[in-house]
């Protein structure tokens, strides 16, 4: 006999059966039956955030760090709309997430009821799919489908909107959770086309100037290890997108570093001159291609992606392969290992010499593009290098959006997948701290650091209170330049230094006192020579949140920077030199 349960209890039981162990949320009128059901159970831990945007970012951080589905519960109206930014962030970066939103009672829908908003309508462009619950007995199937859709194929957020009456405690129906999910209109590809993979192998064997171009799909598709083995077997140079960092170790000798707008000189040069580009789970986003009509003129493009719509969307692929990254790359490896044919080693050797010479000319770590830090002049790049040393390259790093994000991407070597969590697609300021919370919940013993700026951190600063409540020892590294650094950089470069609304003047809080008022530790770093020592002390406080406010040079720019409307090789190398 199935248990007779109310809709609220059915929802919570369904979440348990879907494997949820942590739920990020915020209560409100339309969700109260659900919250009561949460109160009466132990299996799922609910985390009370301070703003619904943070609930979605925290679930997103948890999902990116673990590969599991992040789960969110919010109420109707403003609860739902506040969640939208985090849902859009997850959508752009293909993060598996299920967001449950309370809704007003069914009979009030459409009546402009208190805290009513059309959540399905407002979220539609930024979700993979969404459901509206009509009857409590439909909840288990909808939850099972939601999790299945969120994590399979190209992952993404799913919204489940639940009118309050369907969770009412007096309305009880039998509970059964579906054993399997079958959706006739949704069948993600489970393997790559064998013929296309053979075509790709033929192109690989012909290559003289190849580049493996690794995107976030390699991380999300758990294909980092096969991708690394492929690079090793072929001895091909590798570049990562912002989202692909960590898929191939940052200190792997074959890794040319990140490509794109703020990519390394050697990565962008290699892409431009390549005769073969093998893209694994990258989507040729405009921040990585520069002008598409001038993109990599000599390259044959092999594009492997789980999402057919990502292939030939912005750049035409010569050999498209639709399929899960891990299986496709493993098949490529199998074909290579079963044959003694390899690309021309002499040509490859020459290509490697070329790549090394590019690196010797302008490599970030060979020829710094900025003046050295000294005294009160702290260069943000040096903060990241110090952070890398202090954390021994092992921390989970989250970031917000702007200059600090690019410095973190350039100077912290990410040596494993899921170590670097940032909003690459949507570019959401305010992501870093809640994402760090999500990662810290997933890995309580890990060092989790949020690299941020004084602009971004103030967009979800209220979460310092959540960190107090749950004793989250996140380390916040605030690159404080008293300005919206990236906006300011563009205003320097394109608007003759007219700093329209990008300066905070005297309005910034004392972040040390602010952290202390929440019960945390605050540290202010103003001198370069003391930075490493102060940072080591901060990270030694294993069980405390430490807000490390570093006063960095406000005039610094992120370089290299590609020149708009140019090709991959058109870059500013530093403030005065360009290619």
């Amino acid at each position: 006999m199935a248990d007779m349960l109310s809709g609220g209890d059915i929802l919570v039981r369904s979440l348990q059966d879907a494997g949820v162990d942590i739920l990020f949320g915020y209560p409100g009128g339309a969700a109260l039956h659900i919250y009561d059901a949460i109160f009466r159970q132990q299996a799922i831990r609910h985390i009370l955030v301070r703003h619904e945007q943070a609930a979605t970012h925290a679930a997103d951080g948890y999902a990116r760090a673990t590969g599991r589905v992040g789960t969110v519960l919010v109420t109707s109206g403003p609860g739902a709309t506040n969640a939208i930014t985090g849902i859009a962030t997850a959508y752009m970066d293909s993060i598996p997430m299920v967001v449950i939103s309370g809704q007003v009672m069914s009979h009030l829908i459409g009546a402009d009821a208190f805290q009513e908003t059309d959540m399905l309508g407002i979220s539609r462009p930024v979700v993979k799919h969404s459901f509206m619950v009509k009857r409590p007995e439909d909840i288990p199937a909808i939850i099972a489908r939601s999790f299945y859709i969120a994590r399979t194929g190209r992952p993404g957020p799913v919204v489940v909107d639940i009118p309050k009456d369907t969770t009412h405690p007096h309305l009880k129906v039998p509970y059964t959770y579906p054993e399997a999910v079958q959706i006739r209109s949704y069948q993600p590809t489970v393997r790559g086309h064998a013929g296309q993979i053979k075509k790709a192998m033929a192109a690989i064997l012909q290559a003289k100037r190849p580049v493996l171009y690794i995107g976030g799909g390699t991380v999300l598709g758990n294909a980092s290890e096969p991708a690394r083995r492929l690079a090793e077997l072929l001895n091909f140079p590798v570049t990562n997108t912002l989202m692909g960092l960590g898929a191939i170790a940052g200190d792997d000798p074959r890794n040319l570093g990140m490509l794109g707008m703020h990519g390394t000189y050697e990565a962008n040069m290699a892409m431009h001159h390549a005769d073969l580009i093998i893209s694994l789970g990258a989507r040729f986003d405009d921040r990585t291609t520069n002008a598409t009509e001038k993109y990599c003129p000599d390259a044959t493009i092999v594009h492997v992606d789980i999402d057919p719509a990502s292939i030939s969307k912005t750049v035409n692929a010569h050999v498209p392969i639709v399929g899960p990254l891990d299986r496709v790359v493993e098949e490529m490896i199998r074909l290579l290992e079963s044959s003694d044919q390899r690309p021309d080693p002499a040509a490859l050797e020459q290509w490697w010499q070329q790549c090394h010479s590019w690196r010797a000319q302008h490599g970030l770590f060979v020829r710094p593009n900025h003046e050295p830090s000294q005294g009160s002049l702290i260069k943000p790049q040096d903060v990241i290098k110090t952070l890398y040393r202090v954390t021994e390259g092992d921390a989970i790093i989250t970031s917000d959006v702007g200059q600090h994000q690019m410095f973190a991407a350039q100077y912290y070597h990410f040596n494993r997948p899921r170590q670097w969590l940032n909003s690459g697609g949507l570019g959401t300021m305010g992501y870093g701290l809640p994402a760090a919370m999500g990662a810290q919940f997933a890995y309580p013993e890990a060092t989790v650091a949020c690299v941020t700026g004084e602009g971004s951190i103030q967009m979800c600063i209220q979460e310092l209170s959540t960190c107090t409540q749950y004793h989250l020892p996140v380390k916040i590294v605030n690159l404080n330049n008293q300005a919206l650094g990236m906006v300011r950089q563009w205003q320097d470069m394109q608007y003759e230094g007219r700093y329209s609304e990008s300066l905070y003047e005297e309005s910034l809080p004392d972040f040390v006192k602010l952290a202390e008022s929440y019960g945390h530790v605050g540290v202010k770093i103003t001198r370069f020579e003391e930075m490493e020592g102060q940072m080591r002390e901060a990270f030694a406080l294993r069980d405390r949140l430490v807000f490390i406010d570093v006063q960095v040079d406000p005039a610094e720019h992120v370089y290299p920077m590609q020149i708009a409307t140019g090709s991959m090789r058109d870059m500013w190398i530093n403030k005065t030199e360009r290619t």
Binding site: L120, G121, R124, P125, K128, H129, S130, M132, I149, R154, I183, R184, S185, Y186, D307, P308, A309, S312, K313
Partner: protein, 170 residues
């Protein structure tokens, strides 16, 4: 997106007959900057599915993206660009035409007959006519009316089906 010379595409979409499914299709077009020239939709013989015919003018690359993006929608079962191969297309038009004088009544009736339409409602001052054909035939009918005043036009948008034994079904 659509250039003046871009060919018209007729996309047939088999869709779950679920609330919100149509809004996902329509939303996709506005969200990604594609145009919809006409759209019609109704349940099929299997009430759990809807068949949708949509026309849009765009080049090959865009129609490829549209097809892929439509296929990505969870509610979409199948998508086919039927204008790629032999197909049949028809549109239905209800048109209310001023017909007061004996001359105009005769002229309208004659046009309707020539275009193999029907007069389906008669009043002292107007006729309501039904015409079926491809889009150009319906345009031609309106043009043929000349100075006779058209009061109201309702067009269904194109419906289409491929000329092939192969059916678009589950």
């Amino acid at each position: 997106m659509a250039t003046p010379t871009a060919p018209v595409r007729i996309l047939s979409v088999l869709l779950e007959n679920e609330p919100g499914a149509l809004s996902r299709v329509v939303g996709l077009f506005s969200q990604r900057g594609y145009n919809i020239d006409s759209l019609n939709v109704a349940p099929t013989e299997d009430r759990s599915l809807s068949r949708l015919t949509l026309t849009t003018a765009c080049d090959d690359a865009v129609v490829e993206q549209i097809t892929k993006q439509l296929n990505k929608l969870v509610d979409v079962v199948k998508v086919q660009d039927i204008s790629e191969g032999p197909h049949i297309e028809r549109e239905l038009m209800l048109i209310k035409i001023r017909a007061r004088s004996p001359e105009s009544r005769t002229e309208v009736a004659r046009c309707v007959q020539i275009f193999r339409g029907q007069i389906i409602d008669v009043a002292p001052s107007y006729y309501t006519c039904l015409l079926v054909g491809d889009g150009t035939k319906l345009d031609a009918f309106i043009a043929a009316l000349g100075d006779i005043r058209v009061l109201e036009v309702v067009r269904s948008g194109l419906s289409g089906i491929a000329r092939s034994e192969k059916a678009m079904s589950l």
